[in-house]
Symmetry: C2
């Protein structure tokens, strides 16, 4: 028994059929020339969706959280300072992971549901120019807020790197790594990229690569040391590091192929359209949208439940009666709100229509 | 284009058909009750193959190397001492990973190709009883040597934990976590368990769990902190940690189901039989077996190439003319030897016969 869910939570979403098909391809060895060519082509596709020409662009063998940790562990040394924008759960997680790898953290907060002030982040950097990086979440999965990244390009004129979390944004809304001056960026495959979870795409600018090369202490994680992953995937000869999964990489490769065949602008456009429709419809059912107007993500909507509706019972009914998953709330929305995703293959009218049609029955 | 290899290297091996089929099942959310039930059933199956009743038994979302790091990072604090048996590449990796998480390492070496002396490990512990753990590789994938673990049960009478790497042994030869007094054990899915790579099964004894609970410093890796993974998979309510892949867990679950349906003794027996046949045949083709007689793994054989045969060209011909992958040599066998695996679904007469039939054509 294995249910067939419509996955409308904060991710995973239902993968593209091409991504599912690719999972059953024959397994390739982790040093097979065909596998390394597949990784190279996947990296090429990732550069397009990231909006970058970065040489070091690769799939980390883990989920988005592994991508976050790979970047922080590789770029920070014990005792160094990181400035972190915090307006939701994943900003807090950036702080926690940075502290665990031995860094000092200067949080720059904003209330949950509101956007970060880019100037406050730039001011923090000006006050502590020894900060080694500024880390920001582009699309806060806990609140549905889109943070503005372009003004942070000013960090390019300093010695402070810009690290960007695009776990929920990549493939759903425009991400422009090179234009925005992003030095390190990670994402995940199970949201707007339309593949299963298990891979974290990562890209680093040349100055981020130099930062790792010039480290004094080794990266505390062997598994997530991006310089070792670079030597594995792009070394000549490739240097064995771990047994990467051709199964997952094939799937991501196929999902990206589908996405790029449709074209990024068209994909962004349908995410925007269904998200707008969902956000127009929810208040009619008594929901209260959580994120600040003007900064709402189309692909992930956080909303307070209508008065009198119990979170657990309603999600259970939606799951058991209709086979639809939505996400529970986090932080101020825990127990009182939902997170609804229309991502990747689910950013189409049918999933939206299905969800809205099921709502009345479970809100009674 | 995607080739269909016979994978006879050190892993990945070709998964069981059931494990491939399970990959295309509908994706489940990472907090879906059905997914958590699947994880629980997978953990139950893992307990059987590990030979343990340990409550904390779970799939880490990464490859075997992530399992190694999860154990070392979770069990060691900065400045603590680890004793590591080193008679091959993966013993060396244990040292490197332990040092990166801040531990001091006391290696107890033996020459590559020979077995570790359990008494030397016990003596090292007696001389430095403050050592927090003794780490040993059960099946050294670089040399084909089986290390003897049962005598290390004596560590149960000390405050030093026993950490065992069963990446290449689990499912191929007997592993008896409880009988041998193993406190922490990790493995990988792409070898004798007959699934794709990407998951690291881990099990911890109660005293290893207590060790993590009583830590002073947080684990340097958030992603690989076994106490957080425990709270996710077995917490009540489950505590979100990362977006685990139902795709990979379904596959491992199915591979384990196939293995246990056949039964561990029968699976061990066919690994033993085909390995013995391979090791009897290789010298007839001019190979020289590398591992010490009496301590050879049936599932992974390291051997020097016949005089005059070039490693790279011969492996290329085997791959391109016959679609068969074998592994290159490591350490003293680099450039001069091969590692040949007959693991999981490939521990059957047909892969062995195919390999031996192809050999003459590529050794000329």
């Amino acid at each position: 028994m294995h249910s067939d869910r419509l996955l409308l939570g904060p991710g995973p979403s239902n993968p593209y059929p091409e991504a599912i098909e690719a999972l059953s391809r024959p397994v390739l060895g982790h040093l097979d020339p065909e596998f390394l060519a597949l990784v190279a082509e996947t990296a090429h596709r990732l550069r397009t969706v990231f909006g970058t020409r970065n040489r070091l662009t690769l799939p980390v063998s883990g989920t988005g959280s592994a991508g976050m940790e790979a970047c922080l562990a590789s770029l920070l040394e014990p005792g160094e300072l990181a400035i972190v924008g915090v307006n939701g759960y994943f900003g807090e997680r950036l702080c926690e992971v940075a502290r665990r790898v031995g860094a000092h953290v200067q949080p720059v907060p904003a209330p949950w549901g509101q956007t970060l002030d880019p100037q406050a982040l730039l001011d923090a950097q000006r006050q502590t120019p020894q900060a080694r990086l500024v880390a920001v979440v582009h699309a806060e999965t806990s609140t549905g807020v889109r943070n503005e990244i372009a003004p942070l390009r000013a960090l390019q004129d300093t010695d402070t790197l810009l690290l960007l979390d695009t776990v929920t944004s990549l493939g759903g809304i425009p991400v422009e790594v090179d234009t925005w001056g992003v030095d390190a960026c990670y994402s995940a495959t199970q949201k707007c990229l339309g593949a299963p979870s298990g891979i974290a795409p990562v890209t680093l600018s040349d100055r981020a690569v130099a930062r790792i090369r010039d480290r004094h202490a080794p990266v505390c994680s062997f598994y997530q040391d991006l310089s070792l992953l670079d030597a594995y995937y792009q070394g000549d000869p490739p240097r064995y590091h771990h047994t990467a999964s051709s199964t997952l990489i094939s799937s991501v490769h196929a999902g990206l192929g589908r996405l790029l065949q449709e074209g990024l602008p068209a994909v962004w456009e349908r995410h925007a359209r269904v998200g707008e429709q969902l956000q127009a419809a929810l208040p009619e059912h008594g929901f209260v949208l959580f994120a600040e107007p003007g900064h709402r993500l189309p692909q992930l909507t956080a909303a307070r439940l209508p008065e009198g509706v119990g979170d657990t019972a309603a999600r259970k009914a939606l799951r058991e009666d209709f086979g639809i998953e939505v996400g529970s709330g986090l932080g101020p929305l825990a127990g009182t709100g939902w997170r609804i995703g229309l991502m990747g293959h689910n950013a189409h009218p049918r999933p939206l229509t299905t969800f809205l049609a099921a709502l009345p029955a479970i809100l009674t």
